[in-house]
Symmetry: C2
Subunit: 213 residues, 2 copies
Amino acid sequence: MNALLIYSGGMDSTTLLYQYQQDIRLAVSFHYGSKHNDREISYAEMNCKKLGIEYLTIHLDFINHYFKSSLLQSGGDIPEGHYADENMKQTIVPFRNGIMLSIAVGLAESRDLDAVLLGNHFGDHAIYPDCRRSFIDAFADAAREGTVKGVQVISPYCDISKRDIALIGQSLHVDFAATYSCYKGGEKHCGKCGTCVERKEALEGFDPTVYEA
Amino acid sequence: MNALLIYSGGMDSTTLLYQYQQDIRLAVSFHYGSKHNDREISYAEMNCKKLGIEYLTIHLDFINHYFKSSLLQSGGDIPEGHYADENMKQTIVPFRNGIMLSIAVGLAESRDLDAVLLGNHFGDHAIYPDCRRSFIDAFADAAREGTVKGVQVISPYCDISKRDIALIGQSLHVDFAATYSCYKGGEKHCGKCGTCVERKEALEGFDPTVYEA
């Protein structure tokens, strides 16, 4: 397989980067103006350099300009609490995965690559509609039908938990200290926002993260 | 219905603008670096102003930077001949409709709109996979599943010809002189590229276009 990885620099897509490193010809980060984009992306670039994988960042300024979400620099404060809580819905960036996948599919077709890899997982489903199996399957059909080559969309972690991903990563010797999750985007992980709470739970027993709290 | 129109400034989407003007809350053009983008977009803005419809342009610079297509400023010469000819495949911008639709769906959800309108038509199918019914239907499923609101994707002209659209436009008193099609992007329509040939055939009998040839 010749694949393009949608790569945030978080622990899930970094595990994908390690797991599929033989197949990945290009890793792409999207800079869409989230509070934690810059920090995530610096880890993404670093990990690709380490594994010798071509890497690029695509800027999507229109999202921060025109979309509403507390995840964005233009949005309100990041809520604290558990990832599955109702107030985490403020952090939805509408159809973000649809947008990233579409651009990735077009770029894959331009580069004659067969597939796009996305690191969404089962724990995302409670909050984010564009992380669910029903979305991924429909989008995969659209990508196949809408390209000359029939580009595939592959979501290897769609039906497993973040804990499962952490265990896969551990077995692959992923350096989780070189990944970033916190929605607040500070130098250290805050340890309190939904995604930090989720990270802690997933990495329990082998967590190298230095949290603020 | 509260809809967002993907609006190029060509004759098909201008006919959609007129036909659904009561439902359209926002029209969006995408500037992705095609040779004819600037000229198309100036008509799009003018027509929205005339009908009192909110309008914005979203720049997608990454397409011209990273994608391969003779339609782009970064690509080779636009082929001449008939729209359905084999050499017109050079003008495919990979997954362009997927990319524009995804952004439109996210923006519609951000603005609490119900639907996205796209003006693809039956004559596009021979060349462009992301204009076919199978793509549109799969993408519509993805948009519904991937948004909280269940944003609809509506393609009213997917199963009719450009001639049929021209006749609808004529009945709605669309000013076709205030639309632009030519892939070469010159001041006058060239009259020779695939999309000019197609425009001439569609508007036969009531074509106000001044062609170069």
